[in-house]
Subunit: 216 residues, 4 copies
DNA sequence: AATGAATGAGAGTTCATTCAT
DNA sequence: GATGAATGAACTCTCATTCAT
């Protein structure tokens, strides 16, 4: 093995370790943010949760805000990927419009269930003057507008489309959070994930159907 | 004028002044909370906005939390009153179920428009581990469940009723916030208050109608 | 009754009332100081204890320090008077030196018992950068030096005289405070006031006798 | 040098530095407390005196009280050690009772001279409702009771023993403080340390001798 | 690269003092 | 003269960030 190779190998080992440390911090941050909120979370809590030294944080992130953005960006990447795929499938008309709606809602609920902490953090609202919660909702509302255009190629005023998308995203995201909290308290009479998805989907589909039927 | 009268008059003048100061603080807090969120808001910002001395705050509130609760309680009192009245009217069947739903949604939107800051504060979400935003949403969801029982006396499982109410309250409240933000930016193609109410109402009514028709 | 008389009468009524208010504040201050110490005592506590309005304080005293000095000065006035009298009697040789010493110690203990709060406050030590406790001890030590000169007209170096006086005043004052605290806890086996005085007196007299016998 | 060794070395260097900082704070606190008293002393004064950053304080002590206790505990440890040793020697009867008394008084005076600030702080009196000064005096009075029992095995009532011990400790400690203040002002006619010890010792011994001779 | 001691700006809170009533 | 609401300086404590090791 050449000198250069050795160096590279060592470098890659280093960067792998570095990536692991970074991951630890992101995971820890997600947990801490979910419990204490963004503003109240402290770097000390996060590094302690990650079982890392105090100063290590600043080797990976320039500030708490940068960390927050990274948590959201990397956390929601998977959801974004799934949604992108669904949009493509909608374009290829593999499913009916109503089927797609239900699939999308199911994706949201499942993602929320598997990323409880992150989901709550992301949709938490306007904390600390950061409009991140809002921008996330806006982002998914915009995406939903795109979807609706694919499904119902009827032209409706942009403003109405936005309002519809906003409404549905708000409903789905908050209801998912609510559902997780219900589940947590282990009520005897509680809705399964499938039931919850079914109810919300039917509601959304009925509303949309009505809306588009009149618009035509 | 007797000694006693003088004393009383002085006392009432003082308490009037005190009440005014308290009001100033509540108004200022509402504004500041809407911009920065609860956690990041500082007492200094609030007293400065109210154009009052720093220590004055502590003559009226023991802490930021107490102020926050007072802002919400006193701010939403009017909305609560209107909703209570509507529930009574629903019981007396003065309106059809669908009319009531639309009226309720209109009340929310109008209240939001006239209490922008407050509405955003109240529904801002779970800020910093404080569950106040949540409890407000929960409170109105519970109220909405009551209303639905009056309108559609069909018995449906409690858990489904809760989910429906939660969904609708989430949708209406967040969409109202969104609408206010749209309006602010004075887009050329924007929805009037009446239009927004109409769209959301139609959507909600269609969803509910579908839901109850199947349940029957 | 002439106009002038009326005026005077009214004025005297006023000033009598004023004096009462002042007295209330002094009494309240004494209590509060004894419990919380000088620095930690607040004007609010004092006026509340005196059942007076907040601002009233500043009609009678310019500051907390002024109050503190007044409390001590007026409180110890009686003790000073008694001691002055004893010194005169010593000059007239109505009692033997040892009798005088015992009388003085008895006066201290009785005054301490009847002015618990005040005595503790006065001898509390150096609180808040105020050297008042020290100056009080110094004052009584100086007085005691005078007394010793009367009783034992032998000339001993000033520095030794001061040391002796300081020692005895320290011993008597602190032991009186200790005795009051013992009594408070109502121990079964506790010393009566007379016993305590007797022990301390005998101790002091023996020490002094020895000292002066050698000096001669 | 192995990885582990390096780590350990680094840790020990760090903890050494930490210990130094802690020491600086204790020293500074001693000075500040002696001048301003406990209640009026501020953290800022202390850190400034120690030439350290403001927040550094809280890395080492949780509060001013904790610091105060540490100052006393660590400061008086040496005195306690010496006294313990003397008590042992008294038990082994290496010295006569009167010699022991003089040795003890000398120890107190010498310790006071070498720990001026600390000694004043410790015996400053009941500051602001904190009973620490009192408890220190009580502690040494109790120790002195033990000593007296060794020296004079005659049984005298506990209450009288306590009163005697209290008196002597009060006398010795306050007189030591007084002596230091005299010295400071560099009076022409002032007592040397040895002289002061001699006077106080003779006084105390004469008093005790008289007391025990009568008790027998 | 990792660490954590040191830092100080900034937050909440208290309270002596002023002043309008 | 009596009052207590208003004030802001001063204090304690927290925590993001820096930096020497």
């Amino acid at each position: 093995m050449s000198q250069k190779d050795k160096k590279e190998k060592r470098a890659s080992r280093k960067s792998r370790r570095q990536a692991e440390t970074r991951k630890s911090l992101l995971d820890a941050a997600r947990k801490v943010f979910a419990v204490t909120g963004l503003t109240s979370a402290t770097i000390a809590q996060i590094t302690e949760t990650a079982d890392l030294g105090f100063g290590t944080f600043y080797l990976h992130f320039a500030s708490k805000e940068e960390l927050y953005l990274a948590v959201l960006k990397e956390g929601f990447a998977e959801l974004d990927k799934e949604l992108k795929q669904i949009l493509d499938e909608a374009r290829e008309s593999q499913y009916s419009g109503n089927e797609i709606i239900e699939i999308v809602i199911a994706i949201f609920f499942r993602f929320a269930r598997e990323n409880r902490d992150l989901f709550q953090v992301g949709f938490a609202g306007l904390d600390a003057g950061m409009q991140i919660g809002i921008s996330l909702r806006k982002q998914y509302a915009d995406w939903f507008s795109e979807l609706l255009k694919e499904i119902h190629p009827v032209e409706i005023p942009e403003s109405q489309l936005e309002l519809l998308s906003t409404s549905i995203v708000a409903m789905v995201s908050r209801t998912a959070v609510w559902w997780m909290q219900q589940k947590e308290e282990s009520e005897p009479d509680f809705l399964s994930l499938e039931q919850a998805i079914a109810v919300v989907s039917r509601f959304a589909i009925a509303g949309l159907t009505d809306f588009y039927s009149i618009s035509n």
